[in-house]
Symmetry: C2
Subunit: 418 residues, 2 copies
DNA sequence: GACTTTCGATCGGGCACTCAACGAAGTGGA
DNA sequence: TCCACTTCGTTGAGTGCCCGATCGAAAGTC
């Protein structure tokens, strides 16, 4: 067990500051008295903590609470523009960036199309650094300084070193992404982290689910749908990373020893059955524009959608086939992990009307726990943007976990551009 | 996220008391000065904490530290006999009990053979209560009072309610184990918890691994080997329970849509290929004593071992076949969870010489991460006793996480039986 | 307009940890 | 033998944090 750090009063304070920030994120503006009730802290402590957060610029007064008896409360609300989080994304066909404010709302998003495997790490990171610099310049004045930058990479990542160990699809190996990015952007190295795209996608989807409904989702499985399939697992509210951070490599589950050959050299990997390649092969001939790699993927997905909507039999058959094969693997995941939700990301998210049903059928049939252990299967609403959004949220988490990373001493002068 | 409790100074104290207890468990007897260095606390705080733990009877002086310059330190050591943990076990063919001291060493173990499905829940819990009462009577005087009792059940468990939701092999459904046991034994209800056998086995194996080697194992997969196959997953040092506690139901992963029918009604479940039934069928004819259900399982396993050691071809083939089928499933687990160790429990633990090798081969071939992501495959040394041991450890964890559950005010009179 | 209710600031108190100082208890050399 | 020297563990002052109680402030109610 690694939890071997002593607890001191500073940590106690940090924890309670974070508790208030979380409470405000979940419930919106609250008075100090309401905060005291919801957090379980005393009014006196809440007053002290709120004034601390005010000095850090993380919260501000937000009017007077509505009717009721007695003295009205002075509402305290998160100041979303106080800080920002930056998510960067290295994909096979593009690099992307997203910036969110403290509330998690996107304030900037951009994508730069490029052939990453052909460019190589050096020049790709050049583009990434440009994108980051442009993003920060563009949001300057709108939101406060970034509290973190997280780079999403589809591959095996050493998060503690900020390096990519192996990313076959990018043809990257042992790339010091954090170092290189810090050197190019001038951002401090300790602000930059690197993580797997499926992990970040899972975080983004979890945040999206918790933003809307009642019960917070603590157990979630996220599937990236692309040529390769990745998995992000959140269990008990925490990411499952594995002993050296390689968890979630789900695309290469062996589903059929006699199945088609996979890029990894083995046969019958799950992604040979449910990856984007499998869909495209099943639903279109080689000269079909749907299979034209020079076209934008979103556009090709819209074509598939249109055909399915018009009840084109070949397309429907292909989708049903993919959905069933997905269901077999999802059943394994649900049996093993008992998630509350399975989120279909990537290209799956463009086709939920045809994929979710066959998956659900397979899962209900294939899971031992009654009612599939309560697992829902849903399409992502973030689609291909999940990993950048998740990166920005991961960056914000630093503040949410420890608000003292934002310095004190900013009593006045906010982002009012002269 | 559920971590919404305010932190106060009492919690801080609890955390630091627990920190010292953990440090002493890991490093053995230490002086106060050494404790201060290892824990990161100040000498003054350590003195205060140690005297607190002394008043609770959890530690005691243990001589003077050896040579070196300066004043020798007064060693402080855990007092293993101060409290005890009780693990109870409901199995298909027996009920069992184990009691450990604070160090995790077994001080009592007993098994009562009975046909649990035939007896039904009521009478089974009668036996369990008898066993528990006998155990506590027998260890009275040897160790202190139990800080918890954990019941291991092979099935789906609602840990918060202490009930068994569904245990097909026992033919139990919605059995209030904790309540019933409390009523029969007179033990306070809040001391009793109920958990899945694979979860407890995983905890026991993790503790066993960390007891010996250097690096603590935080990511581990445990497989129960019986007629059914269960999985216990520890990720980042914490059990993966799933959204409603049904995680780890790994025996019913669909491995082959055309495979043999399973007791769950589906085809090709993993346990039809690697469960005890599969082994027995593959290695012996129906009239072979190995397949005589009236014989003790340990004894039958010894027969299989003997034949394999004598290079009986049919036995070797059977073991190789089981090992390969195990490897396919283990590869999935390793790809998804990237554990540091996969522990083979239950009947697998009796045959590691013939099972580990084919599994390793499959895993190395079937896992994307280089070198199988560092995953080792090992046979359990606890075997069928893992779940009771794990139950006792789970009970002890209450003290390890919060030493203040043991009351103060026991300055004198220890367990010196008149 | 007085009463009631609720809010939020403030103060004193208790608790936990830290630092610095000091006596205690050994070693090693003169 | 005696005296530095080193290290240990306790003690007391100091600081920071949370809490309960108190009190003035700011509304609604009668």
């Amino acid at each position: 067990m690694g939890h071997s750090r002593p607890a001191d009063q500073a940590g106690l304070r940090r924890g309670n500051l974070a508790l208030l920030v979380r409470t405000l994120r979940e419930h919106g503006a609250l008075s100090r008295a309401q905060l005291a009730v919801r957090s379980g802290l005393s009014k006196a402590t809440v007053s002290s903590l709120v004034s601390d957060l005010e000095l850090r610029g993380l919260v501000h007064s937000a009017g007077i609470s509505a009717g009721g008896q007695g003295r009205p409360g002075q509402l305290v609300a998160l100041r979303p523009t106080s800080v920002s989080g930056v998510g960067l994304d290295v994909h096979v066909g593009h690099v992307g960036a997203a910036v969110t404010d403290l509330a998690g709302d996107i304030v900037f998003r951009r994508r730069f199309v490029c052939d990453v495997p052909a460019l190589g790490p050096e020049r790709t990171i050049d583009h990434l650094a440009e994108l980051a610099t442009a993003a920060l310049a563009e949001v300057d004045g709108l939101v406060g300084p970034p509290v973190g930058v997280t780079v999403s990479v589809p591959g095996l990542v050493d998060t503690s070193a900020g390096t990519v160990t192996l990313a076959p699809r990018l043809r990257w190996r042992d790339v010091a992404v954090a170092d290189e990015l810090a050197a190019r952007t001038g951002l401090p190295l300790d602000l930059i982290s690197v993580d797997n795209d499926a992990n970040l996608g899972a975080m983004a989807e979890q945040a999206a689910m918790n933003g809307e409904s009642g019960d917070p989702v603590t157990d979630l499985v996220y599937l990236t749908g692309d040529f390769g399939i990745g998995g992000g697992v959140i269990s008990g509210g925490r990411l499952v990373r594995g002993s050296i951070g390689f968890a979630g490599e789900i695309g290469h589950m062996g589903m059929d020893p006699l199945g088609p050959y996979c890029s990894c050299g083995r046969r019958g990997c799950w992604e040979t059955r449910v990856g984007l390649g499998a869909l495209l092969h099943a639903c279109a001939d080689p000269d079909d524009p749907v299979r034209d790699p020079t076209l934008d993927l979103d556009q090709r997905m819209r074509m598939v959608r249109a055909r399915a909507a018009q009840r084109d039999q070949r397309t429907l058959d292909a989708l049903h086939q993919i959905g069933s094969a997905l269901g077999v693997g999802v059943s394994i995941l649900v049996n093993l992990l008992n998630p509350a939700v399975v989120v279909l990301g990537g290209y799956f998210a463009a086709l939920p009307e045809w994929l979710v049903e066959p998956i659900r059928n397979q899962v209900v049939a294939g899971v031992l726990a009654p009612g599939a252990g309560g697992a829902r299967v849903v399409g992502s609403r973030l689609g291909f943007t999940a990993s950048t959004t998740g990166g920005a949220l991961a960056a914000l988490r630093r503040v949410l976990d420890d608000p003292t990373v934002v310095p004190l001493n900013q009593p006045e002068d906010e982002e009012a551009p002269a």
